[in-house]
């Protein structure tokens, strides 16, 4: 395995990171929005979200990305491997994020909302000041869990031509007929990425604890 090969795996790591970051950045707020729609029992939309979540949780990511990649162009929407990949990741993770957020919302004490209402807080402010900080704290472990799953499910996108960490490693193995060394490099990179993610979680949790102690 040459240094150019190692570089190729790092190139794949960049793709993995960008795809995951895009999927997380889009999937997190969409999931929250959908959870709020269900929580608030918005007519029609709440039912739509429920259907969406059951549909997407039942669809394997590989099936979803193949479907998007091959079907969208026929519907007149041009889509490349990367955009199909980001779209599939977002659609998938949003469904799971929705349920994580919803679990936190369902557990949220109604009295707090009533108290906020009684001091004249408007709905937007109520959500920002009272609801969001608390459900974010409760949801964090579940969300980070889902994010690490998302990072590790990106190799699936290789079926449409995305070259992520794993695909870059597979390519090197196919060229050198020595598949193990590139896989070790790939594993080391995944470990580093997920470790960094977990460190962020720890840092956020510690900060919350300090704040709570200070309050």
């Amino acid at each position: 395995m040459s240094s150019a090969d190692v570089l190729a795996i790092f190139g794949g790591a960049l793709t993995t990171l960008l795809l995951s970051a895009a999927g997380i950045a889009a999937g997190l707020p969409i999931g929250l929005g959908m959870a709020l729609v269900r929580w608030g029992r918005v007519p029609v939309a709440a039912r739509g979200v429920a259907i969406y979540v059951s549909l997407l949780r039942a669809t394997p990511l590989v099936t979803l990305v193949l479907l998007l990649f091959f079907a969208l162009p026929n519907a007149g929407i041009p889509v490349g491997p990367i955009s199909a990949g980001v779209l599939a990741l977002t659609l998938n993770t949003a469904a799971f994020n929705c349920e994580i957020w919803r679990a936190a919302l369902m557990d949220f004490p109604k009295e707090q909302i009533e108290a906020a209402q009684s001091v004249g807080m408007r709905r937007g402010l109520r959500f920002r000041r009272i609801v969001l900080p608390q459900i974010a704290r409760v949801s964090l472990p579940g969300l980070i869990n889902e994010m690490s799953l998302l990072i590790k499910v990106t190799p699936v996108l290789a079926v449409v031509g995305v070259v992520d960490i794993t695909r870059a490693a597979v390519r090197i193995g196919a060229e050198t007929y020595e598949p193990l060394p590139p896989f070790f490099v790939a594993l080391a990179i995944y470990l580093a990425i997920v470790f960094a993610l977990v460190s962020v979680q720890r840092w956020v949790e510690r900060r919350q604890l300090q704040r709570a102690a200070a309050a």
């Binding site: 990649f69 091959f70 491997p81 196919a174 060229e175």
Partner: protein
């Protein structure tokens, strides 16, 4: 509305959705030569792990087919856009019209010829088996009886295993277990680890493997009759097929194709202009 009803409705709606989508999208169409010329580009799909036909070295696509794509870029009156993806999505992409042509070693089979058109063959690729170096239990086809074979899923190699089965049965034996892999690197690795006893692939791929890893693998005997790989185009796209066959004929005549065959396969082949598969 009761909770139970609501769940059932959600489920029904979820079930109906993919079917509705199918209806909305309808069937696909590949671009004709005229459409390709008009839009100014052709989309070519190649693989990334099928050495020596196509593979990636130092981040760059190389191999026989990729050098042919380079030649095509020089001679075609339109731009060539290349997409590199694993085998799994390639023929599906051509059949749905996502790619205009698969410039990969797609072996011509009867089944594939029903939904795809094939260009003139690009190599002579009779199927062989490869075994682990020094495995003295396999010396001839008859010894393959009861042994486990590794082969790529969805491949023509898999499709033509019945031929090998007949050969083994003729020798009084019986076909062993068949293990399918997404691609060949995994199949070779499993053979090296001793999980399978032999792997079936084209003689070209296997020669390349054995040349690179002479201490691990050893080439066996042929396990099929004639077999030719070619490039695949969506069925009925006749003008594009004629265009590509002209290109291949030109590359044969000007010596490019024989030179590339020698470079990547170790020998140049006398190839038929068209091939009708028996299997």
């Amino acid at each position: 509305m009761s909770q139970k009803h609501s769940v059932r409705r959600t489920l029904l709606a979820a079930l109906a959705f993919p079917l509705a989508l199918w209806g909305a999208i309808g069937s696909a169409q590949g671009a004709t030569l005229e459409e390709i010329k008009k839009r100014g580009y052709m989309v070519v799909a190649t693989e990334d792990d099928f050495r020596p036909f196509e593979f990636v070295k130092d981040g760059k696509p190389t191999g026989f087919d990729n050098e042919m794509v380079e030649a095509l870029k020089k001679s075609a009156p339109f731009e060539i856009r290349q997409e590199i993806l694993p085998w799994t999505g390639i023929l599906a992409g051509v059949a749905t019209g996502k790619y205009d042509i698969a410039i990969t070693a797609a072996i011509i089979t009867k089944e594939r010829a029903q939904s795809l058109d094939f260009t003139s063959p690009i190599a002579d690729a009779t199927h062989y088996y490869v075994k682990k170096k020094g495995d003295s239990s396999i010396k001839s086809i008859a010894d393959l009886s009861g042994k486990t074979v590794g082969v790529q899923a969805g491949s023509a190699l898999l499709g033509r295993l019945p031929e090998l089965k007949a050969m083994i049965e003729k020798a009084g034996g019986k076909m062993g277990k068949v293990v399918e892999y997404t691609s060949y690197p995994e199949a070779y690795q499993d053979l090296a680890l001793g999980r399978t006893d032999y792997v079936v692939n084209t003689v070209i791929n296997l020669k390349s493997l054995v040349a690179e890893k002479p201490a691990v693998f050893e080439l066996g005997q042929p396990v099929s009759g004639k077999s030719y790989p070619a490039w695949a185009i969506k069925k009925g796209n006749t003008e594009l097929l004629v265009f590509m066959n002209d290109f291949i004929a030109k590359q044969k005549a000007n010596g490019t194709m024989p030179t590339l065959q020698k470079k990547w396969f170790g020998e140049a082949f006398e190839l038929p202009v068209s091939f009708t598969p028996e299997f």
